[in-house]
Subunit: 158 residues, 2 copies
DNA sequence: TCCATATTGTTGATATGTCAACAATACTCA
DNA sequence: TGAGTATTGTTGACATATCAACAATATGGA
């Protein structure tokens, strides 16, 4: 009878990372439900509130870490609700430029203050300084992960 | 002309958290693709490798932070591939007990060592001690998030 | 110029996820 | 015991996600 092997601190931390992100995502679904938005829809709209005149669908897919083809339906539904519009991209007839409509701007003006307050609350009990350190470590983890993904072909080669 | 407002450290850290989790998830899809598994399928199988005689579908849904109804299809597909089996739950005729088959055990014996190594590599450049601290902070964030979700009805009340 | 190559958005197939509603079964306690 | 309530798994409708394939269009050299 041997004791079960104790998982490594890094493995445990990775599981906690994914678990926490899942918890936040699930909770945000309820949160954004107040405005009949899904988290994915909110994230897309949030990008469009940045100064500038919108983004193409490919740009959106890169920012949202999602596949091009996923943006089509997302924009379709937001457009049907009148929150975004597709404008012709001058100089590239393949592309659309997706922008917030006036209604989209009004909705985001309403949602964003609540969102920022909620973002602060999830770090309650953790000093801003420490949250920043955690963020920095997570940035490194993301970089490591991308590097590993690029090397997958030679994964496990010593 | 005022400068754009600088986002708070906690807001930035929250975005980084979600972004990193997304990056890991996307990378893991490629990783598990070597064994024709999706991340969701791997996570389910991984739970079943724990000692004990399997889990019911409701237990699986709680561990995986996902809806009951999602487990049905997940188990259906894994069962069709012969990696898991549904056994009758003694004492509760509503429930199934999902267990790994011999083939499921063989597959996980093959995958897990690669998975553990990859989990370590993701934290490269970050001392184990520091990874554990990050994990601890993330655990607190998850707790705060759950608390906030429970209070959503009174959200934004001072 | 013209050809090879890349990029953009869409489609259809499919997996993963939610939710509401349902039937079957289990549980509680007056 | 029995009535009301809760839990379990499934289904169907739908949103979100991937991927491969496609047509249209851009782009970069020979």
């Amino acid at each position: 009878m041997s004791a079960p092997p104790k998982p490594s601190p890094r493995y445990t931390a990775l599981l906690q990372l994914l678990r926490t992100a899942d918890t936040i995502w699930n909770s945000s679904r309820v949160f954004f439900g107040r405005w009949e938005l899904s988290p994915a829809q909110f994230n897309l709209l949030n990008l469009l509130t940045d100064p500038g005149d919108g983004l193409t669908q490919s740009e959106l897919s890169r920012e949202l870490l999602t596949h091009r083809s996923n943006i089509t339906g997302l924009v379709d539904r937001l457009e049907a609700r009148g929150l975004v519009a597709r404008r012709e991209e001058t100089g590239d007839r393949r592309a659309w430029r997706v922008v917030l409509t006036a209604a989209g701007h009004r909705l985001m003006d309403e949602v964003l203050p609540h969102y920022f307050r909620a973002a602060e609350r999830v770090w309650e009990g953790i000093p801003a300084r420490r949250a920043a350190e955690v963020g920095e470590a997570l940035r490194q983890v993301a970089i490591n992960t991308e590097r590993a993904a690029g090397q997958l072909a030679v994964e496990d080669r010593p």
